[in-house]
């Protein structure tokens, strides 16, 4: 979303949007008079037209100062003018959010007018040099066929400079020669540039959009409680900053200002999750709200709000609350006390029904957390429950043994890994899914969804044979996988299946299908930032050919990597390089033992203690950190606590 480009873009009148023209920023000045038919738009912008704003029922008298200025030419008074200017700025943000205003666009169809005669007029003695009343005069006179809204003019020398919509220009040029406050006006179109902004302040009450934004931001900041994650928007009409700005001096303006506050809230956070985490509670107490339509936008800005206080408003009927009945699905706590609606007989029932997560209403518990979870389930599809790893690998722990060795070697010595478990028929490919950021993986991604199934890439990015696979692995970033002992970090599902080709060429062989989902640590090579990358890896294991180092081999290895994310703790732990250097990198890592040694230690511990292989492994990998003596000592200390299944069953 493009930010406002500056004061000019902030003009209601400078945008082609119908909002500016119909929004009632003119008339005789101020917000009082509106044209246009009633309209209800989707973003809750209802009351702007539907309420008779000539006499806002609750807002302070917006027009009480009208006429006090005594400005000749009849243009409206100061506060109203300032309000309408503010409204334009505010609307600029709101429109920006709606995507209706492209900040660069309006300049294409603008015409610059040069107007002579103001200095000679009686209005020149007005405090602002008569500019405001001149603009009012021009608007009134040119608005014969349809309302025309003018932007801000600039007085430079004897001329007033004004940018207007191309379509409006003929109507204004027709006024050439009109008499204004005793002087004849000369209006001409010019190609000359507008005099620089800010050289000559023309409208003291004008506020730049950035100022407005800063002020609204200040309001939000002063009302945010980080401990309670609470945004206190109560009694906004009494807010000192907002009062100075005049932002809440009429009901429609108050609604616009509220929308702007919401807009700033929404854009302040990088993403929805951050926003939801930062703002969990809002109070809108004591705001004279008659219908939640007036603050509807909040449901879009903070859809996952947990606590909301609406107390002390003027909601008198369920219809005044019902616009929110499909919103705030996570709302757990709501306060409506001090609103007439609470006196209705069906009050609590109806509200409880509308907000499925609601547990506390006006301080009373109305649902248990379990009941709330159940009620919410009826509103949205619910993901299937997740169970831990499901290992059905034929009872020999083949999968855990293989994976333990596999990931340790993948992290430290990929060449050795390829030699041990891969042969000439093994296939490897990787797939980055829809990852948008380019990474070391991107060029090798065999994502058939993006490279197509017929192109040469599908052939080229399939790596067959241990040599090619090792070569590719050397080009991939160094990784560190969590230990398999950290069961929470892994989802491993596996099972055996029939009908692989037997390498001897005779009959069928059983295969083992393993799917692993976890994340590994990876350092971003350009910035040396530590981070993690979620991955999924699917292995098909089958029997080895005669003479291979292991009884089984990898037939297929498909690695899916997801987007890398920086680690929250900024401490970068060095990950050993896995380059193609033939010198065994594992040797450089003192605590890292190769799998063969580990297997021998497990076997020996199992022999000495009677524990089975799994528990022996746990014992060694735990506190002992592969120190055999420590592991043995720890076994003797904890022997009494070990369950019977820790031991090898007597045959």
């Amino acid at each position: 979303m493009a930010p406002p480009t500056g004061p000019r873009a902030g003009h209601g009148g400078s945008r082609p949007s119908s909002r500016g023209a119909r929004g009632g920023t003119r008339g005789a000045g101020g917000i009082g008079k509106r044209r246009g038919t009633p309209r209800t738009d989707r973003d809750g912008d209802v009351s702007m037209d539907s309420i008779n704003t000539g006499n806002p029922p609750t807002g302070p008298a917006a027009h009480s100062t009208r006429g006090n200025r005594g400005a000749r030419g009849g243009r409206g008074g100061g506060p109203a003018r300032s309000s309408s200017r503010l409204a334009q700025n505010v609307r600029n943000y709101v429109a920006d959010q709606d995507g209706t205003a492209a900040s660069s666009k309006p300049q294409f169809n603008k015409v610059t007018l040069k107007i002579h005669g103001l200095k000679e007029s009686k209005a020149a003695s007005n405090p602002d040099g008569g500019l405001r009343s001149l603009l009012g005069f021009l608007e009134r006179k040119s608005s014969k066929e349809r309302p025309i809204t003018l932007g801000r003019g600039t007085i430079q020398g004897d001329h007033v400079w004004l940018k207007v919509n191309q379509a409006d220009a003929p109507h204004l040029l027709r006024l050439n020669g009109f008499t204004y406050a005793g002087a004849v006006l000369a209006i001409e179109e010019t190609n000359g540039p507008m005099p620089g902004q800010g050289n000559q302040p023309t409208d003291g009450a004008d506020t730049k959009p950035s100022d407005t934004k800063d002020k609204l931001m200040a309001v939000l900041a002063s009302r945010y409680n980080p401990e309670q994650k609470l945004l206190d928007l109560s009694a906004l009409g009494a807010d000192p900053i907002l009062t100075t700005m005049g932002a809440f001096e009429s009901k429609p303006l108050a609604e616009k200002s509220f929308k702007a506050l919401m807009r700033i809230t929404a854009t302040h956070y990088d993403n929805a999750a951050e926003k939801d985490a930062a703002i969990q509670a809002v109070t809108l107490a004591n705001n004279d709200i008659q219908d939640v339509v007036e603050v509807f936008t909040m449901a879009q800005t903070l859809p996952r709000l947990l606590r909301l206080d609406l107390s002390g408003n003027k909601l008198d009927d369920f219809s005044k609350l019902s616009k929110w009945r499909h919103e705030f699905r996570r709302l757990e706590e709501l306060h409506v006390v001090g609103n007439p609606v609470t006196n209705l007989p069906t009050y609590p029932t109806q509200v409880i029904e509308w907000f499925p997560s609601l547990q506390i209403l006006d301080g009373r518990r109305v649902r248990t957390p379990e009941e709330a979870a159940e009620a919410l389930r009826l509103w949205f599809p619910t993901p299937l429950p997740r169970l831990p790893s499901n290992l059905r690998d034929g009872g020999n722990n083949v999968a855990s043994t293989f994976l333990g060795g596999f990931f340790a070697l993948y992290d430290h010595d990929r060449i050795a890994l390829a030699r041990q478990f891969y042969d000439d028929d093994s296939a490897f490919s990787l797939n980055t899914g829809a990852e948008s950021a380019s990474s070391a993986y991107s060029n090798y991604s065999r994502n058939l969804d993006t490279i197509g199934v017929r192109g040469s890439s599908a052939q080229q990015r399939l790596f067959t044979g241990s040599n090619l696979i090792a070569e590719l692995w050397a080009r991939l970033p160094a990784t560190r996988h969590p230990s398999l002992d950290q069961a929470d970090e892994w989802q491993i599902d596996c099972h055996t299946f029939p009908s692989l080709a037997d390498p001897s060429g005779q009959g069928f062989a059983m295969g083992l299908a393993i799917t692993v989902i976890a994340q590994f640590e990876e350092v971003d090579p350009t910035q040396q930032l530590a981070g993690t990358r979620p991955f999924a890896r699917s292995f098909i294991l089958g029997p080895s050919k005669p003479g291979a180092p292991h009884p089984y081999r990898v037939i297929s290895d498909e690695l899916t990597v997801r987007a890398w994310k920086p680690q929250e703790t900024s401490v970068a732990i060095p990950i050993p390089a896995v380059g193609p250097a033939p010198a065994a990198p594992a040797a450089a890592q003192a605590p890292v033992l190769d799998e063969v040694t580990r297997a021998q230690m497990i076997q020996e511990l199992s022999r000495q203690t009677g524990m089975n292989a799994e528990y022996s492994r746990l014992c060694l990998a735990g506190e002992a950190n592969w120190d055999f003596d420590l592991a043995l000592r720890s076994f003797h200390e904890k022997r009494a606590d070990l369950p019977p299944e820790a031991f090898v069953l007597p045959a």
């Binding site: 499909h326 699905r329 499925p356 389930r377 009826l378 509103w379 949205f380 599809p381 619910t382 993901p383 299937l384 429950p385 997740r386 169970l387 790893s389 499901n390 059905r392 000439d424 028929d425 296939a427 490919s429 797939n431 980055t432 899914g433 829809a434 991604s445 065999r446 994502n447 058939l448 969804d449 993006t450 199934v453 017929r454 599908a458 052939q459 399939l462 067959t464 989802q491 599902d493 099972h495 299946f497 029939p498 009908s499 692989l500 080709a501 069928f508 295969g511 299908a513 799917t515 989902i517 979620p534 999924a536 699917s538 098909i540 089958g542 037939i555 297929s556 498909e558 899916t560 997801r562």
Partner: protein, 187 residues
Amino acid sequence: MSANSHETNVRCSCEAARNFVDWYYRQVNDGKSITQGYVNGHTAYDRAGHPPADICINGLVVATPQEWEKLLEQQRQAPKQPDPNKRRVRYEVEGYDAHVVNADYRFAAPQKMLDVHAPTDGVRMMMVLTVTGTVYFGTGRDKGDDYWEKQNFHDRFILVPNWDALERPGTRGGRKYLVISHNYRAN
């Protein structure tokens, strides 16, 4: 070079993968049946005594494709939601990849198939297919629709030839490959 990575086999496996992915996720997103894509109940395999497809959903072993359909149906439930664009579950595939794991697949193969198709013909193939993407909960029909919750999903299928369909080419709707193993995880 292994028969598994023979050019024809690679091309055919990629095309089979695409066909399967297109079909499977369209059926799932439309709430239509996916049971015919699994090996269960297909004559040639049943007669030869092939075990039912191994289906493991988020760590839970599911006995039949019908039960997996029931889980999908259960996942779609949102009875109170009045807005049809807030009660769908939509799987969006973001990537998939396939390998041939046995180019000389013979289980339950009719003699004719063994005679006609060499292991380099890209027909008698057992394949492994992995699919990754995002599943959106509480959303509409179209990509980019607003959603209530999302998860990453990873599917892994092992596919084998559907001899019934291969023997009678041109049969409408017959899947060319059948699932003997399906692993699903969504996080």
